[in-house]
Symmetry: C2
Subunit: 194 residues, 2 copies
């Protein structure tokens, strides 16, 4: 399983991984299986793990006063799961993350991250690349959220992450895009007639 992560990292960084790097990675990451509907973190927890998705599908969301679920992120294979802000600062997370499919995660504890990984240059490089990419994506999502019509949002998602439409039910996609299941249903019906 760790091979998937090694391959992923090699792809993202400029330099090569040494044998020692690979050994450390294999040492600190451990496989955790989580079943459909099981929580990875719950609102109020401090997020003490970060994880790489080897297999499965998960979602990050909040629940509002009226009980409505608001999905912020969807995760499938090769995505990193967790609340980075809580992980880094130790503040309780406002989010829930749970599995939508039975999943396999490569998990690292905060403690190992701090002591065994954070001084490895390839790891800080990876971390920076990912944080930067995340922030670029969020800027685009915020812009779309504020300026696009529901139809444009769906179309954009079909262009950026078409996989999501295969892996998640429509009502979850709708929530991720900040609209209702009825709206996305009508939009897709319409799009089919074009």
């Amino acid at each position: 399983m760790i091979e998937l992560l090694i391959r992923y990292i090699k792809d993202k960084i400029d330099n090569q991984l040494t044998e020692s790097d690979v050994r450390i990675l294999s040492d600190v990451f451990y496989l955790k299986k989580i079943r459909k509907h099981q929580y990875f973190i719950q609102s109020g927890d401090v997020c003490k793990m970060a994880a790489f998705v080897v297999k499965g599908a998960l979602k990050k969301y909040t629940i509002d006063a009226s009980g409505k679920e608001n999905i912020l992120e969807l995760y499938i294979e090769n995505w990193w799961v967790g609340d980075k802000e809580s992980f880094m600062t130790g503040a309780p997370t406002p989010y829930n993350i749970d599995a939508y499919e039975d999943s396999e995660l490569l998990v690292i504890n905060k403690d190992d991250f701090t002591h065994k990984l954070s001084k490895l240059t390839f790891m800080t490089e990876l971390n920076n690349v990912l944080t930067e990419r995340q922030s670029f994506q969020l800027m685009k999502r915020l812009h779309s959220s504020q300026t696009f019509t529901a139809e444009q949002k769906v179309e954009q998602l079909q262009n950026t992450y078409p996989e999501f439409f295969q892996r998640f039910p429509q009502h979850m996609i709708a929530s991720y895009l900040g609209m209702t299941k009825e709206t996305i249903s009508r939009i897709r019906k319409n799009a089919a007639n074009k």
Copy 2:
């Protein structure tokens, strides 16, 4: 002027700045004054500068098909200005940035950034801290954008960046929050009667 930047950096990083660090900073950053309404970058440009606001106020925005301005970021003293994605990747920016007040910026060119700063550890540290913070903020803004009412959005902004209400006209705040000037006007009138 550079002292402001030095002080700012010292505040953000763990280690001390050496004399050599300070010399390099003074060397690569230069002061640029920009007048009200003047562009810092325009949509379609490649962003070849990053800048620290010493004095003034600016905005980042797009213009949609119908001519409506959509503000994505507001900047005042001690904020960093630019399109980081365009700056890092060399892709043309989709955004405009211009001055809302006469402003003074400490500017660094991409070339100097790459060759003279990017190998200094304090600078990569600063860069990472800022990118991370940016991404945390964007996540919160996206969540608010998708789940808050107009009223809640205004209230949240008053708690997070109350300065904005002093520095920018209401119609710009409205655009930043993704609503119209009429809506924010009615909300604030209401809030006053509480």
